[in-house]
Symmetry: C2
Subunit: 187 residues, 2 copies
């Protein structure tokens, strides 16, 4: 989305201000309380500008969510450790202020708009996992499949965060990862 036809000074400033405003408002009030007029006011930008550039709240949130996402930890080749780190990072990403709020907003959005945010999110996660598994293969391990990691690590974490299941912490995230990376572990 940085590919605008005139990315220079003013547009960039407006975009930055709007992104910051969205993040702040999502954190403060939750994604469903964020309106375009509110964002515009916080960013000291004209509402019309936001309407014309982004069109809708879901589109705006999707863009901000993608930009805001931090990088996953680099895989070392130690499958067990890498998966555990990945799981912990995924949970941290969801649990960070506004993290799950962005997810909620994308989940709630209309079907057409949805694809942009959710598809992108899934693609990124898949790529991260694949990189991790490739790295493990290079190191001579026999890793689980992408689907297994999705089903047994990522999905439970999302599910538990969305439903606010108690006891969903870093240790549990690692536990899920360990269960899929070979020898299970009691807890």
């Amino acid at each position: 989305m940085a590919t605008t036809r005139r990315p220079g000074g003013r547009s960039a400033r407006v975009q930055a201000a709007v992104h910051r405003a969205v993040t702040e408002l999502v954190v403060e009030r939750g994604a469903d309380q964020v309106t375009i007029p509110a964002v515009a006011e916080r960013a000291e930008v004209n509402p019309t500008t936001v309407y014309r550039r982004w069109g809708s709240i879901p589109a705006l949130l999707a863009e901000v969510a993608i930009v805001a996402e931090g990088g996953a930890p680099a895989p070392t080749g130690d499958l067990r450790a890498d998966l555990a780190d990945f799981a912990e990072w995924t949970l941290a990403d969801l649990a960070r202020p506004g993290g799950i709020a962005f997810f909620r907003a994308e989940v709630a959005a209309d079907v057409d708009d949805r694809r942009a945010g959710l598809r992108e999110c899934l693609k990124r996660t898949s790529a991260t996992i694949e990189a991790l598994l490739d790295r493990a293969r290079e190191a001579g391990h026999e890793p689980p499949t992408l689907a297994e990691v999705m089903d047994r690590v990522v999905a439970p974490l999302y599910f538990r965060v969305v439903f606010s299941v108690p006891g969903t912490d870093a240790a549990y995230a690692r536990h899920l990862a360990h269960a899929v990376s070979g020898k299970p572990e009691s807890r």
Copy 2:
């Protein structure tokens, strides 16, 4: 919510009409396009009535979602078969017209309102699974834990439906169930 102080004819009629209208609109347009005025018009009821009785769209959707939910299949005691049936039913429930839409609406709702819908949903699912596991125990099996079923069957199904992961069908649901009920199965 059926515990109103005057559940007789008119109130009941209004409630039924509103429920029907909500369901229809969710299916037709998606949950995020459903507004109280639209529901009221469809139900041929005064908007003020809906505002006063339900207050907000999330509250209304939560009530409708709970009422609309069909009953899970009765457990037979055959753990493997019961879990597979349960998984397939869960997926069917999510995939039914408007099924995931209700979930989306609840996920998106504000934190306070959310508890009502999501907590209830989780509680019901837990109870269903527990019943199934108890039945299996009676029959002499040694079933997995509630958390295991949640993490490895329910969570992946929700995740996959929300993200529209291809290949998420009844067979896959059963595959997930089988993987957790003892001997895994290739696919």
